[in-house]
């Protein structure tokens, strides 16, 4: 593998070329004026007046900042702000409900999992409002300040947190948001990946451990050029870990000489947040299994050790992985042998430089995964069942997942040998559940959990 990737120098050259090329493609002379003139002529002819009032951008921003600044004295205001950010309609109507397609090898999969089910503040308040707790933990590194504002957690350790990340120099070079990380252009910011990640602490041990899975959602409506408002939906590595304490980490990869392989990492962690209360869950069961479900998510109790597989090809076990190759965006590759299976494979360059990873199994099969991260190769999990369905008293159904679990949920985690836990993409009322059906786990027939 080429030792000095020079990716960002290369990328900046491409950026400059594109900018120069498109700079000469301006709207033709007179086009803008013609459009403005045409609109004026149409005024009063077809244009309808509206009873609604546009909210000026400045007003929204001021509201957000004021709510944050008085958060320590006005719990109700903070709680409403939290509920709006975490569960309200974010106004992203273009990606709310639609079908998208994954192009993975030659297969096209329908993936409705990016659906976001907005929940009104009133419903959210009723279901989880009383358990919203203020954290107000702030950590800084250089010009970056991260504040974890409010948190709500359920009995299973699933949680939601609102986070503000600010930098007076702005975030113009923000590249991406994804599972637990935000990526910047290091040639501008000096920082590549900022990892805003939830963490859990084992009981009686001071070391803070990362939460297994979290997903950050950028609130475009509240965010500004210098302040990003994020909502994190997280699932724990372990129920006990998360219930004892949760902490958040801000980490960065600093590129000083343009060489990604010489990048330095830094990280800062908040003090552990110890939940004072939890959103309650209800229990449903079969003859020999049980499930715990709250408005935020669900926990299936084991044994599940034979049901956890890498995403995409559920028939393969990660212990059969022989090696994996990271394909970098500049065309370079790095192959890592895996004598003990996939766990623990590390790649050298940070996430931003990785386009996709090819995993090779011992039977010659290959699995391609996009953007799983390069610091730690950890395939996402999939629970090898056909479908999980919740039936409610009013006759409605919520199909929680089908075989592509990662498409449906905000985050998921497998608790070693003791079960599967994941969060919903909406709030539900557990009291209205009649039954939960799991189709075909481990080659068995349907499991029906009832009260």
């Amino acid at each position: 593998m080429k030792q000095n990737l020079d990716f960002f120098d290369y990328d900046n050259k491409l950026r400059d070329s594109v900018k120069k090329a498109y700079s000469c493609a301006k709207a033709p002379a007179g086009m803008k004026e013609r459009i403005i003139d045409m609109a004026r002529k149409e005024e009063g002819k077809h244009r309808q007046s509206s009873c609604t009032h546009r909210i000026p951008m400045r007003a929204v921003l001021v509201t957000a900042l004021v709510a944050g600044s008085i958060g320590t004295v006005a719990f109700a205001a903070t709680q409403n702000n939290f509920l709006t950010s975490a569960f309200g309609d974010k106004g992203l109507e273009d990606i709310e409900v639609h079908e998208v397609y994954y192009e993975r090898k030659d297969t096209t999969l329908t993936a409705p999992g990016v659906q976001w089910a907005p929940v009104s503040e009133d419903v959210a308040d009723e279901l989880v409002g009383q358990e919203v707790q203020q954290a107000n933990y702030t950590i800084t590194h250089g010009d970056y300040t991260m504040t974890v504002e409010d948190v709500v957690m359920d009995e299973n350790g699933l949680g939601v947190a609102t986070i503000t990340l600010s930098n007076p120099n702005g975030f113009e070079e923000l590249w991406d948001t994804g599972v637990g990380t935000i990526t910047f252009n290091p040639s501008i910011t000096g920082v590549n990946v900022l990892s805003v990640q939830g963490a859990g602490r084992y009981p009686d041990i001071d070391t803070v451990h990362l939460i297994r899975s979290s997903r950050l959602v950028l609130d475009y409506n509240l965010s500004t050029e210098t302040e990003l408002h994020l909502v994190e939906y997280f699932a724990p590595f372990s129920q006990e870990v998360a219930k004892d304490a949760v902490a958040w980490r801000l980490a960065g990869t600093v590129i000083t000489d343009g060489d990604l392989l010489n990048a330095e990492r830094w990280e800062e962690s908040t003090d552990p947040f110890i939940p004072q209360s939890y959103v309650q869950s209800v229990q449903l069961s079969t003859e020999d299994r049980s499930v715990s479900v709250s408005p935020l998510g669900i926990r299936f109790y084991g044994p599940m050790e034979s049901t956890i597989y890498p995403s995409g090809l559920p028939t393969y076990d990660i212990s059969t992985v022989e090696r994996a190759t990271a394909h970098y965006v500049d065309g370079n590759e790095q192959t890592v042998e895996a004598p003990f299976g996939a766990w623990g494979i590390y790649f050298d360059a940070p996430t931003a430089a990785v386009e996709y990873i090819t995993t090779y199994f011992n039977d010659g099969t290959e699995l391609i995964t996009y953007g799983p991260g390069s610091d730690l190769y950890e395939p996402p999990i999939i629970w090898n069942v056909d479908k999980v369905i919740i039936d409610f008293a009013d006759g409605s159904q919520y199909i929680v997942m089908d075989e592509y679990i990662h498409n449906y949920i905000f985050s998921a985690s497998a608790e070693d040998d003791d079960g599967v836990i994941f969060s919903f993409n909406r709030l539900i009322d557990p009291e209205q559940i009649v039954s939960i059906t799991v189709n075909g786990p481990q080659g068995e027939g349907d499991l029906v959990y009832t009260r």
Partner: protein
């Protein structure tokens, strides 16, 4: 609803962007102008509430793609030769215009991502929302677009 002064400002601010997005899709100046006109008149008439300038820009890009798709289907014709438009651009920018022509000859999905990512500064996640494809697909298109652009630049000894 937008006031006349707000609308005028938005046309002045985003007119070039809408034209470029439309040009990349339609590959014909006249069609791109038609799309831009239709998009801005839709903006003028909309009752939609915009919370920020980012929201408006997002809406304009999305509306431009929708309009392009509709017009392209309605026209039912072969892609236009972009060379005519490139030749019409001013001579002092000959090199840049040549590069633009080559970018616009790339498959649309790559040219669109290259423009929106590098010129307009959208993140891959934002582009996923705009283009209605997964972020992983955007990253793949961006990577392949980079490779094709690199080939173009290397061929012209510009990289």
């Amino acid at each position: 609803m937008l006031s006349d002064s707000e609308f005028t400002e938005l046309v002045q601010t985003y007119g070039d962007m809408v034209f470029r997005v439309a040009l990349g899709y339609m590959r014909n100046q006249a069609d791109a102008e038609d799309v831009a006109q239709s998009v801005f008149l839709s903006l003028y008439h909309t009752d939609k509430e915009f919370e920020s300038s980012f929201h408006i820009k997002h809406w304009l890009v999305r509306a431009t793609y929708n309009e392009c798709t509709s017009l392209y289907r309605a026209l039912r014709r072969s892609p236009e030769n972009i060379d005519d438009y490139i030749e019409s651009l001013a001579q002092p920018q000959q090199e840049e215009a040549g590069l633009l022509g080559e970018i616009l000859k790339l498959p649309k999905k790559y040219a669109a991502v290259l423009y929106l990512y590098y010129y307009e500064g959208y993140s891959t996640e934002e582009l996923a929302g705009l283009l209605k494809v997964p972020a992983a697909t955007v990253r793949t298109r961006l990577s392949r677009g980079r490779k094709k652009l690199s080939d173009i630049l290397e061929k012209g000894d510009r990289l």
